[in-house]
Amino acid sequence: MSCRDYQHQITLLLYDELPESSRVELETHLQSCPNCHDAYESEKAMHSVLAEDAARWSDIPSDLLVESRKGLADKLDRIERNRSRWRLPAFSVVFTPMRLLESVALIAMGLALGVYVSNQRQVIPQVAGNPAQDQISVIPRNGTISNLQVVSADPVTGQVELAGEISQPLRFQGKMEDDTVRSLLFSALRDANNPGSRLKAVEMLAQKPTDESIEEALINALIYDHDAGVRMRAMEGLQRFADEQHVRAAFMHTLENDTDAGIRVKAIDALMARNSRDVELAKSLEAVTKKDDNPYIRSKGLEFVGTAK
């Protein structure tokens, strides 16, 4: 075997992909060939640096995993809803060739008579059959149609089937105990453009943070919301759980990253109040707070290390 072949094997050796017999042969060669030995040392050094880099990437941010899972679940929900709800076979009897001719004739007559035909949209009531499919065959006056697709169109019979989505204004009333209300509040907290709406949503949810899904929504708001008022309210709702591991992690993240000093102060106060004997936390907290530009936070960090000992 040539030195190039052996050097090829060095890569496999370092990745533990070399068969035993080849490994022994390579190791023997490395002892007698200075060039290959140098190549081995050099590649081993690079491998070590790259391994350190891989170790840094081995854990993914848990909030990213939560977000990604949630996003996927939402999209799967949407696909399933579309599958079951938005087939509109009711259109199927509208456009037969004869009716098209009749329509053209009527329009011509109407124009000739100077009559303005204001609404040519015809909607036939839903075909009786399978109410379980929950199909909508009447387009609401205030609804907006999107993603319209022609599912099938038969030029011979003139039958057409369309599918799409309709969105329309929503108004809903209910109590917090109602799953739908809670679910809508989660959406409002996550998606509402108006910070005032998000603040109202977070205030309602923060009243009952004992539910796991509410706690998760509050953590997301604390970390991601652009509005400091919303983040502060989320923090207040969570502070009594500052001894729970994931809430503690969220508070540490806030302490390290939030631009609002008031929120960071709340975070350190809550962490200290709920974890007064945790020496490990105190050390991490000190490392984070000593870089803070707020003197109160820096002094609190030092104080915590002192009291936790």
Partner: protein, 206 residues
Amino acid sequence: MEAILKRTAQRVHESDDEKLLIEQAQNGDREAFEQLVRRHDRDILRLAFHMLGNREEAREVFQETFLKAYRSLSRFRFESSFYTWVYRIATNVSLDHLRKRQTLKEEISYESDTEMNPDRPALKETLAATTYYSNPERRLYGKEVGEKIREALKTLSEKERLVFELRHYQGLRLKMIGEIMGSTEETAKNYLFRATQKLRAYLTHV
């Protein structure tokens, strides 16, 4: 790395009931599909996050991968493991994103600090100091090394990058990488060799 290899071994034991879950999911059982997702989603997200280097695109790749799997699950014929099949989708989606990015001539925006320091010592010296991470004062310096590695990875061809990513960062065996690529273990070996040669050449000359 050991943790990754351990997870790989665990996956083998899980393959028995995976078949049942796949069949249930093929019959429209959403819960079964979600169980399949939960078994592999961390690995897929790790792949996407490292390949793309930012959260937004990682999330997109993650969702696109599993939505594609969901839509085409009925065509899964058990010719490979579900894990290999999903990884194949994920690598294709990741590469598509990288290609689009290249077309748009966008810079890869890694979340780490990308400020360059002209006074930084040559990486060659760092490579010699293999224990640099043991010294806390050099941790920041390690971050700069990470940035250089990101740059070096950009010099690899698509397949070299893919094989290196799957072997080095995801800890998959070359045999499985060959399957994911629709090729052989031998081909994967060659790409790994070329990738490490290129990386070594790049990293020892900056």
